[in-house]
């Protein structure tokens, strides 16, 4: 029996999320007394694959094939389901990102496997299998019991600490054939911004709200994010006004993120916004209204006008960085 984890790659490279998944799977396997196995789909070099062994993965299956360069939900879900059967997996771990969210439900139906999506930690127990997940958009946690032989978990990014644990690992190369699932959606064009830190990957996020008053005032937010190696985000009114792009909207209907540090500037902290950031480890709030609900969610706060506080904060950070 095994825990099978799908470690997604980006142009042949893994990123921190892949290693979070590997760490989670190997710890879970230890807890359940079974073996951790990783499946990688598409071309990934040997050296890169071996990195997974640094996080406790003992068996790495690398599947390559002609049709696998483009992501098709049917092809990928069949492939992962078949791998799970071959490896007698009782737990399948995926990322709770676009791809994982697309695959988990399909694999669930194929294997009659219950799903817990958006988990942030290990199960409380494995027999019967009980695990906590986010519910009511951050206003509660639910304890789910997964009642099937095979279980599927999708792990929230940046919620599980990396656990370095070097093990001896074997790599099994496979070529996938017979995964033609018939006519599917055809990709016409792709637009990717390269070199930009993705909001979901960022450990530090600097975010602005309506209190910033205008798109012209975003300079210090961008500067702060750059100094901290962070990404920028915004609240819903800001993206609705077109001050910032929609991809930056963080909240219930926008992106749900869990960075180590979230700095909310000029954001009052409506329930819908908090739903998107409640997984953050630390929240800092800068707002001129001392009664703003954001201060109930924040560990650190400054009551003051963003236009006055921000330049001073940027200056102080430069001084701290130089010392």
């Amino acid at each position: 029996m095994s825990v099978l984890v799908y470690t997604e790659n980006w142009n042949g490279k893994f990123k921190k999320l892949s290693f979070e998944l590997a760490s989670y799977a190997s710890e879970l396997a230890e807890m359940a007394g079974i073996e951790p196995v990783a499946v990688s789909i598409g071309k990934v070099e040997q050296d890169e694959l071996m990195k997974l062994a640094g996080y406790g993965i003992k068996k790495i299956i690398s599947v390559e094939g002609e049709n696998l360069d483009k992501f098709d939900t049917r092809t990928y879900s069949r492939l992962i389901s078949d791998q799970a059967k071959n490896e007698s997996a009782t737990i399948i771990v995926l990322a709770d990102n676009n791809r994982g969210k697309a695959l988990a439900p399909r694999i669930s139906v194929r294997l009659q496997a219950a799903v817990a999506s958006g988990v942030t930690g290990l199960p409380e127990q494995t027999e019967p299998f009980r695990i906590k997940k986010r519910a009511f958009s951050g206003n509660a946690f639910a304890t789910l019991e997964l009642k099937t032989v095979v279980k599927i978990l999708t792990l929230t990014q940046n919620s599980f600490d990396l656990r370095e644990k070097s093990v001896e690992a074997s790599i099994e190369k496979q070529t996938a054939e017979n995964y033609d699932t018939g006519p599917g959606p055809e990709i016409q064009d792709v637009q990717i911004q390269t070199g930009k830190l993705l909001l979901a990957d960022a450990e530090i996020v600097v975010s602005g709200g309506r209190g910033m008053k205008s798109a012209d005032n975003w300079g210090p937010i961008l500067e702060l994010a750059q100094l901290l190696n962070g990404a920028t985000a915004c609240s819903r009114p800001v993206s609705d006004e077109g001050w910032r792009p929609h991809e930056e909207h963080t909240g219930q209907t926008g992106k749900v993120i869990a960075p180590n540090l979230y700095i909310a500037i000029g954001i009052s902290g409506a329930t819908q916004h908090l739903a998107g950031i409640s997984g953050s480890k630390y929240i800092v709030a800068i707002n001129n209204d001392k009664d703003a609900p954001i201060f109930d969610a924040a560990q650190y706060g400054i009551v003051g006008d963003a236009a006055k506080v921000l330049p001073k904060l940027v200056e102080a950070l430069k001084v701290a960085g130089n010392s």
Binding site: R106, A142, G184, P185, I187, Q193, H249, Y300, K312, L313
Partner: protein, 249 residues
């Protein structure tokens, strides 16, 4: 073409969430129920497409799995402009059981585009759409932020890490929708509310399906410690706290 929009109903997003029976059930007293925000946006987009004659949409239907208490939510969808509705008369237990119920409606109908919201704002499962597609062995596209019909072809934009992908999908297919597909949810006008009373809600018997999971209990998130305030004239103090106390920068 015919569109089916699957709708869930959820507590209004501003509702204070409370639990009852030893935290095993949602306390529904005083809850204002609304159409799940992403389902509402899907419905809005479906109706926009129908309004544009060049898209060739004949009907927009909605489907819901749940007891009679959800009918006001379904009527709201009809008031916004859906032509007809299906309700599978059973308590929704988990995503798998709900998707199995929806699958029978799709099989019995002639739908070209089946839309589901990416998740519901109550259980945050994000599973029903993908499960429905797999039950029906149909292609699916997740994370849709734009949906257009040009010369009979379905053009989709979906979000991927760091960018967008533009696709053309064959029909029928299941579209799993996120924010961006429509700007603002459509609001029912008085005429729409009056007309909705006469529109049919077709009752569908549930198929026998066991759920795969069970929600045992709920708990509120842990309260965060009280906020430490820093003098606005000395923001350097904040940097110090983040470096030495929180150790996050």
């Amino acid at each position: 073409m015919n569109i089916l929009v699957c709708i869930s109903h959820v507590p209004d997003t501003t509702t204070k969430i409370k639990f009852t029976d030893n935290n095993t059930r949602l306390d529904v007293s005083g809850i204002q129920w609304v159409i799940n925000p992403w389902d509402e946006l899907s419905l809005t987009r479906a109706l926009e497409l129908k309004d544009d004659a060049s898209c060739g949409i004949n009907t927009v239907s909605v489907a819901h799995v749940g007891p009679v208490s959800a009918e006001p939510t379904i009527r709201k969808a009809l008031a916004i402009g859906a032509d007809n509705a299906y309700r599978v008369d059973t308590e929704p237990l988990d995503a798998y059981q709900v998707a199995a119920q929806l699958a029978q409606i799709v099989k019995a109908g002639a739908f070209d585009i089946i839309l589901c919201g990416i998740e519901s704002s109550d259980y945050n499962g994000s599973n029903v759409g993908g499960m429905l597609a797999e039950f029906l062995d149909l292609p699916s596209v997740s994370g849709i932020s734009k949906l257009e019909i040009k010369e009979g072809k379905v053009h989709i934009t979906r979000e991927i890490d760091g960018g967008k992908e533009m696709l053309i999908s064959p029909t029928p297919f299941v579209g799993i929708v996120q924010k961006g597909i429509a700007k603002e949810p459509r609001i029912a006008a008085m005429r729409g509310i009056m007309m909705a009373r006469k529109k049919p809600i077709q009752l569908v018997d549930a198929v026998q399906t066991e759920p795969l999971s069970e929600t045992l209990e709920f708990e509120p998130p842990k309260p965060r410690p009280a906020c430490k305030f820093v003098d606005p004239d000395q923001p350097g103090k904040l940097i110090e706290l983040l470096q030495n106390e929180a150790k996050v920068i």
